[in-house]
Symmetry: C2
Subunit: 385 residues, 2 copies
């Protein structure tokens, strides 16, 4: 039996997606590959709800964040980084590495970024860009990107969104919400292996790009777009061909499920996970209104280390969970419910977690977690929720 | 029947390597993945003949070149770029993009970089680095890196080598030759799918890195090394897990064949390819002494376009060849004999090429190409060559 991968990424890769990778290698500058490229990038435009081109990169999600920053900014530009966790901190660090003058606002880990704080902060300076993490994987908090975009109002700051762990798990509408750059990657809700990241830019961001002087070559939007727009669509540098085979299949699965249905499933899995842990006496780091549809961070019970939960879950129950990151290391463990994860997986996880907690001497009402989650699934199935 | 991929990369991926990718996704921060990472990086150290750590990146080979440049140089540094083709030009362009003061010496395409030219050029300025493409894929020329490294003598310039299409196809000994940075990638002689690139740096390069001020985050050597050196070896950003499965198997195949045996095979395939095309009345762009073991660029016969050869080779014979790049576009076609390519593949290619040439109205002695190549294979098998 394969390990059940409930970390916040990479996520479980369905068998058909895994096997798609085993196809024969092909010429990446050929019509058959151009067709795959167009299909995959078309799928990403649909998921991002944008009319803009989506640019692919051979990289992790962090590479996409670096591409977002370096393509629309110049050294010395004032940037407002809103951080509520480790990935928000990373976004800010990337901008600083390239010479942006970054003002970072740290929201307490476990809380979401308050949209009024954004409106207020933007009044203080001539910011060129606003960095926001849509889903903060380290704390299990999702930010209200719609409200943050609305709070920006007519301020000219570009809104750069880290959607690495949110796209296709949490609603995101790039054009309708006025997001200027959206960055994402293959190994989260796209249910594909890691190796390809994507960036889309608004017309305003493309205009900024033409003036932006941060150094770049590999990440350069223009170089990538020019290659894609050739009569034979291609990437400027060799793409991860086999991961594109996987993306083609992964997107097919997403279309088959339906995007709205997939988003609803993520919402349901998040609710069921939180209901389950609450019934076992554990607490989610995130408050309910901002709790992530993609990952749940759970406070460790007093006197229990992350390893005391993560290790037996893995070794005795075959379930991979994650520990904490940054400030939350040693304080939380995390359950990913992202990508190709279904109710049965969450029930299996909660059942195993109950045994682990009990083996640590904690008092857990019998089957409380599983029952609470099951009840939620039943209600959703009955259309009650 | 799968297409026979004789382009200069991606190269044919053996079935066992392709299938390795289909394994279940795993936690990239776990002991099982750490073992794969250590095994793969150990294999790369062996191939590079270095005691230095090898750093992996989720990227194409171009990303590794960018990592090489940005980690050891500062804006304004004087850099000597030796270019004899499209990839030499690209290496120079990357250094310029990040603010290096680049002096580019253009060697005629089809010729190798003369080592005395290097010695002479280095005397002219206080260069901080020397950029060299080991195997110039665009022209089918391999440079004599040993002689170039020797020509540098005691000059303090760091020698940055693009070994993307050379490593494991053409001899390279990083430590013995005194190379300071070696950059390579998964999709060439490593016979794996594209998606992972590697960089190794000498002690001098690591010392330069500590002072180097070109901006970087994703490519930062220190960030990557620190993650690898944790008790649980890992990459700082999500690695392309399934490509690492492929690399594990690809390296196993390379060890099974033997590195020296594999290098000898590439040398033989290059000689046989050139013997074959010569016998059909075609000419290699590269002179014999510097002709690449990995790829052969062939001058197009008068009045024949690259498409007139590449298209029927692909559509009627199932063999992918490449056209020309840059200055050589419309003047040459290219045959890759790199990675998992064997004598039977070259014979099949030459046989098909003969038919295509004849269908274009060219006079080709019957079976001349195949016989010349076969004779060379026979001689090598008999130990004559």
């Amino acid at each position: 039996v394969d390990e059940l991968l409930l970390i916040p990424g990479p996520t479980p890769v369905p068998v058909s997606v895994r096997q798609a990778q085993a196809g024969p290698m092909m010429n990446h500058r050929s019509e058959p590959f151009a067709q795959i490229l167009r299909e995959v990038l078309g799928g990403l435009r649909w998921l991002c709800a944008t009319r803009q081109p989506v640019l692919p990169y051979a990289s992790s999600g962090t590479g996409a964040l670096e591409a977002a920053v370096t393509n629309v900014l110049s050294p010395g530009d004032r940037v407002l980084a809103l951080s509520c966790g480790a990935f928000g901190d990373r976004f800010a660090r990337i901008a600083r590495s390239y010479g942006a003058e970054v003002t970072k606002i740290d929201v307490e880990w476990g809380k979401a970024i308050p949209p009024d704080l954004v409106a207020h902060a933007l009044e203080q300076d001539e910011y060129r860009a606003l960095l926001v993490t849509h889903n903060e994987t380290s704390t299990g908090v999702q930010n209200d990107l719609t409200a943050i975009a609305a709070a920006r109002g007519n301020h000219p700051a570009l809104l750069l969104a880290d959607a690495v762990s949110s796209l296709a798990a949490i609603p995101l509408e790039m054009d309708a919400w006025g997001l200027d750059v959206v960055a994402t990657a293959s190994q989260k809700a796209l249910r594909c292996p890691p190796g390809v990241a994507f960036v889309a830019a608004s017309e305003r961001a493309w205009a900024a790009h033409r003036e932006a002087r941060m150094p770049r070559y590999y990440w350069d939007f223009t170089i990538t777009r020019d290659a894609l727009e050739q009569s034979l669509a291609q990437t400027p540098f060799t793409p991860p061909v086999s991961i594109f085979y996987a993306l083609q299949e992964g997107l097919r699965l997403i279309r088959n499920e339906g995007l709205q249905e997939g988003l609803a499933r993520h919402r349901m899995l998040g609710r069921a996970t939180r209901a389950g842990i609450a019934a076992m006496g554990l607490r989610s780091v995130a408050d309910e209104p901002c709790a992530s549809w993609a990952v749940t961070a759970v406070w460790l019970p007093d006197g229990v280390s992350a390893g005391q939960i993560v290790c037996p879950m893995r070794d005795q129950h075959g379930i991979a969970l994650a520990g904490g990151q940054g400030q939350l290391e040693g304080k939380v463990f995390r359950i990913g419910h992202l990508g190709s994860v279904y109710p049965a997986d969450i029930l299996r996880c909660l059942e195993a977690l109950e045994r682990v907690l009990r083996s640590l001497g904690l008092t857990v009402p019998e089957e409380a977690g599983v029952r609470a989650a099951q009840q939620l699934f039943d209600e959703e199935a009955a259309g009650v929720a």
